[in-house]
Every structure is written in C-alpha cells, then in structure tokens.
Amino acid sequence: MSALDGLLRKEGYHILRDRRTLVVLLALPVVQVVLFGFAIRTDVNDVRLAIVDPAPDHATIELRNRFVSSSVFRTVAVVSRTSDLDPLFETGAVQQAVVFESGFASDLESGEPAHILIISDTTEPNTGNLVQAYALAVIDGYQRELASPRRGASALAGAEAGSALAGAKVRVAIVPAVRMRFNPTRESSNLFVPGLMAFVLTIISSLMTAISLTREKETGTMEALLVSPLRPWEIIVGKVAPYLVIGFISVVAVLVEARLVFRVPLRGSVALLLFEGGLYILVSLSLGILISARTSSQRVAMMGALLVTMLPNVLLSGFIFPIESMPAALRVVSYAVPGRWFVQIARGIMLKGVGLEYLWLETLILAAMAVVLLVASTRSFKERLE
C-alpha cells in the first residue's frame, strides 16, 4: 500500500464524513446557477411602453406592430400628444415612450429625415440604457428591412428606400449595444454561466484547500505528516487531489444545469473547456496552498482566501462588471486576476464556439500562472520546515 494512496483515502474520509461541508460544496454550484439565473438578471423584460402617434400612417403602424410583437415590450398606452405622457411617467405606468412625428411615412418616402424620439425612465440608469438599446434595435431592424431592396420595395412602393434609410434619425444620447453581439437573445444567463464556473471553482479550490490545510496545522496533524518520510509534493497532492475531483464534478454540474434550465449554449469543444477548467483549478489550488502557508488558523485562511481570490475573481474578472468599463488602473490589475482569463476562455468556447486558435494567448497566460503558482506554493510549503 503506497503512502500516497493512504493519504488520498484519508482525505476522502475527511470530505465524506464532514457531511455539512460536502452538501454545501455540492449544492453551491447548483443553487448559484438558479440564483444568478433568476434573481440577478441584467436583461429586462416586459417593458411598459407608451406610443405617441399623432397621425398614424402605414409606416408608424408597421413599426408599432414590431414593438408589440417583440417579447420585450408591452404597449400600455397609445396617446396622440406628447404632453399626455407626463402623468404616465410620473406614476410609473410607463418606462419608455416612442414618439412619432406626423407625416412619418411621407417623410420616409420622400427621403426627408423621419424623426422618432425615444424617452426612457432612467431612474435606474442601467435599465434605462438597456431599454433604449432594445428600442433602437427594433427600429434598426425595421430600417434594415427597408434597406434591403426586395422588402423595401413591397413595404414602401416607389419610395427611395436608400435615402429613407439615411434620413431616419433617432435622437438618443448613449447607445450601449456593443456587448450584445454574441448574445443575440440578450440572455444574461449566457454571460453569467462562464463567470459562475470561475466563481464556484475558486471557492472549492482556493477556499477549501486553504481551510483543509490550515485545519491540519491547527489540530497538529500537519506536524505528524511533516515528520514522516513523506515528501512535500506527496503531502500536497494527497491534500488537493480530492478537491480537484470535486471541482470537476461542479463544473459538469453547472454546465448541465445551465444547459437544461437556461438553455445556455455550449458551442465549442467540451474537452477543451474541461481542460481549461483543469488549468484554472490548478491555479486556484496553488493560491489556496500559498494562503495556507502564510496563515495558521482556519479563520484567517478563510478571510485570506476571500480577499485574495474571491473578491478579485468576482469583481475584476468581467463576471459581473464588464472590464471595458473599469477605470484604467483596475483594468491593469485585472490582468493579474486568473478568473479574468478563464472567463474570457469559457465565454469564447461556450458562446462563440471558438477553439485554441483564438484562445491560445489566454490559455498560455493561465498555464504560466499555474506553473509559477504551483512552484511557489510547493516552495512555500518546504520553507515552512526551516
């Protein structure tokens, strides 16, 4: 019976007998997916829309129908004067209004600018921006159809579709439509699942490794292992390998649940995703070992893991807040956050379906981090003996 075999078995007993922690570890990913999927949504639904159409014509009716038929908007009022909107906004009955000018269709047909004014309730700026972007997307879709000659000809017989396109102008301040590109259904769950994997792996790998190693220090069993002929790498492998297994189980659980409950696509290679997940787990495990080398109590280790791994990996990885909108200094810091690279890789594989030919740089960075941290953590483990 080899020493390592015995160590692994013993760690297995620790995990299986600590039922509460095990349940938390296994339930965590599943519950997180549900929480993030249903509660923390950044997309909006059922936007209450008012339409101001003083002189309805075929173009305005067509466009109004498009708003009605989109699942995002619900038309709650159609009025004829802009001044009628004030009470609707004040009571919160509508969140957004689309105002047509009279002679909309004839302007389009004659090539004059056809004006649409979009008014949004921006009490919640993020929601406001999003809702604006949705409305613009609807209008844009209509314009694009007009621009295509066949559809344009049938919709506006005899009109100069090209110049109509150029003329249709929309007055809106900011258009935050960039990040919708690979997420045409605008489901935030598609974006959060890759980030969530990083989050769950960080908890299991860094936090649990740091805690389980410092627990052995606290109870004094670490000494017994250090005095034995076991080599440092054997002790480390024996401690962390079982968490590697739990980490993989969690990744698979999150992927399956995301697929079944939220229909998040997995367009790229599953094998590649699991490989990258393995790299990220190695990085996190090493961080956990490093943290445990610097602390001697479970409480401190937990706080350390929260500070060093959880916070950056949640806040600076692009999981919740887009990296592009961070201040320059934080953007620089985010380069050092392993989660940032893993989230990019996972999004690339899952949503864009790309492979290593596009993700080699991120993969290389993650692999380099894994090597450096593994070496550093094994060394820190040895140094403690001196």
């Binding site: 019976m1 015995g6 007993y13 069993t221 001697s296 140094e383």
Partner: protein, 264 residues
C-alpha cells in the same frame, strides 16, 4: 550500530534576537528513557524540533540515529517516531484507519499493517472501538493510541513532546508502562515533560533553563549533586534565577511551531 542514539553539540537556535536554544550539548544512549525537563518557553520543544528535522538549527551539530540533522533529515525521518504536544491523530478517522494511514505513510505492507493493527488494538484494549471515530474516545485512550501509532513502524528512537499533559494520573501511569515496554524492546525514548514526578521515571534527565542545560544526569545523581530531596526542588532552584530573562509581554516568545521569522 553505535551505542549513541542522539548526539547534540553546541546546538543553537535563534529567532531574530531571541535565543531559544543556546549551545546545548548532550548524548542519549540507545535504549535509554531520556527526560527533557524545563519550564514553558525554556526551549524543550524547539530543541526537539531541531532533532526531528522540523526546524533547522542556527548553529552547532547533531546526529540522530547516526544521521546528520543538516544533511540526512530524510534518513532521520525514517528511523524516528514522533508524538507531538498536540494531538496527532485524525479525529474523524477511526483507530483502525489512523493506524492504516500512518502504516502506509511509513511504507509498511498491507499484511504488516493488518497484523500490527490487531496486536496494537488488543494491547490497548481498544478492539471494541476500533471502528468508532477517534473523536468519541476519552482523551487518555486517544493519547495511548497516538503513542502506539508513533511506534507503528518500529522506529529506533521515539520523540514524545509532553505526551501526558492534560491526562489523569491513572492514565499517566499506564502511559509510562507503555514507554517502559517500548524501551525494553530497545527503542530509545526522548520525552519532554513538566511533571516532576515523571522525571523520576526516566533513566537520565536534563533540565533546560532559558535555552541552556542547567543540569544533566540520573535523577539520583542530580539530587545528590545539588543536595536536594526531590527533582521538584532542584527544578525550582534552577529555574528561579532565570525568571528575569523571560521576555516582557511586548516581545512575545516566538511560536516554535510556525515561526514567522525564519532568518537563519
């Protein structure tokens, strides 16, 4: 095989400006029960940790089981057993699983582990609780089990760091029976304690005072040499002048287990 199991010469360990162990020299003969006495913070644990390869000495030399502590710590680790001040078994494993774990770590075969487990559990009277988690056992039982586990691989030398602290007198007596049993089988025992009655059980003792060895010899010789009636009295006499050396609370004694200052 040499007759000397442990040999230390001018062994020293400093933590920053604090000298925990200050040029100690002593020899322990094979098969001897050697007591390492001293007040808390006198340097017993630090000295022991240098001998078992958990802490590098700052200067001086030492050989354990014939191996040099600087260059042959792997060989030392294979020939010694160690029972720490803190409980060294896994509380969420059963006695049987603990024995199997440590047996595996020290490279015993499956067959050897099985035999020794049965023998050990029978000797300790723990056969009935072999498959209960250790945390459910009384402290005294656990300490005896921990001692046996430290001997699972038949080490030439066993180091016991305050093995009986917090244990009731009857269990302590039984514990010492186990120690004698091991010694009569040829195992060298180095044991630290601050129970002075236990000192009388040792073949020879050394009393550490503020990092130095204040006295060394058989209990009987020491009592004669210093003209005292008990080791207790001797201990108090040696320890008292050193009290003014105890660091003030502003500069706490470094934790010998996880020193923050690892400068040589």
């Amino acid at each position: 095989m040499t007759d000397i199991a442990i040999e230390a010469k001018d062994l020293t360990r400093t933590f920053g400006s604090f000298t925990a162990v200050d040029h100690i020299s002593f020899e322990v003969r094979t098969g001897e029960v050697f007591g390492f006495l001293g007040a808390n913070g006198a340097g017993k644990t630090t000295a022991m940790r240098m001998l078992i390869g958990l802490l590098a000495p700052s200067s001086g030399t030492a050989r354990v089981a014939g191996h040099d502590v600087y260059t042959e710590s792997e060989a030392i680790k294979r020939s010694i057993g160690y029972m720490s001040q803190r409980f060294s078994l896994y509380e969420d494993l059963t006695p049987r699983e603990n024995i199997r774990l440590y047996g595996g770590i020290y490279g015993l075969t499956r067959q050897q582990i099985r035999e020794r487990t049965d023998r050990m559990l029978a000797r300790l009277g723990l056969a009935g609780v072999a498959d209960e988690q250790v945390r459910s056992l009384p402290l005294g039982w656990r300490q005896k089990l921990a001692f046996s586990v430290a001997l699972v691989h038949d080490p030439r030398i066993v180091f016991l760091d305050e093995p009986t602290s917090g244990v009731d007198p009857i269990t302590r007596r039984q514990f010492w029976e186990l120690i004698y049993e091991a010694a009569s089988a040829g195992t060298t025992v180095l044991v630290t304690t601050h129970y002075m009655d236990e000192a009388e059980y040792c073949d020879r003792i050394s009393i550490m005072v503020a990092g130095r060895i204040g006295a060394i010899g058989t209990p009987a010789d020491l009592k004669k040499q210093f003209g005292v009636d008990s080791i207790d009295e001797l201990f108090v006499r040696l320890a008292r002048p050193a009290e003014k050396r105890i660091p003030d609370p502003g500069s706490p004694i470094p934790d010998p287990y996880f020193p923050s200052d690892t400068k040589p």
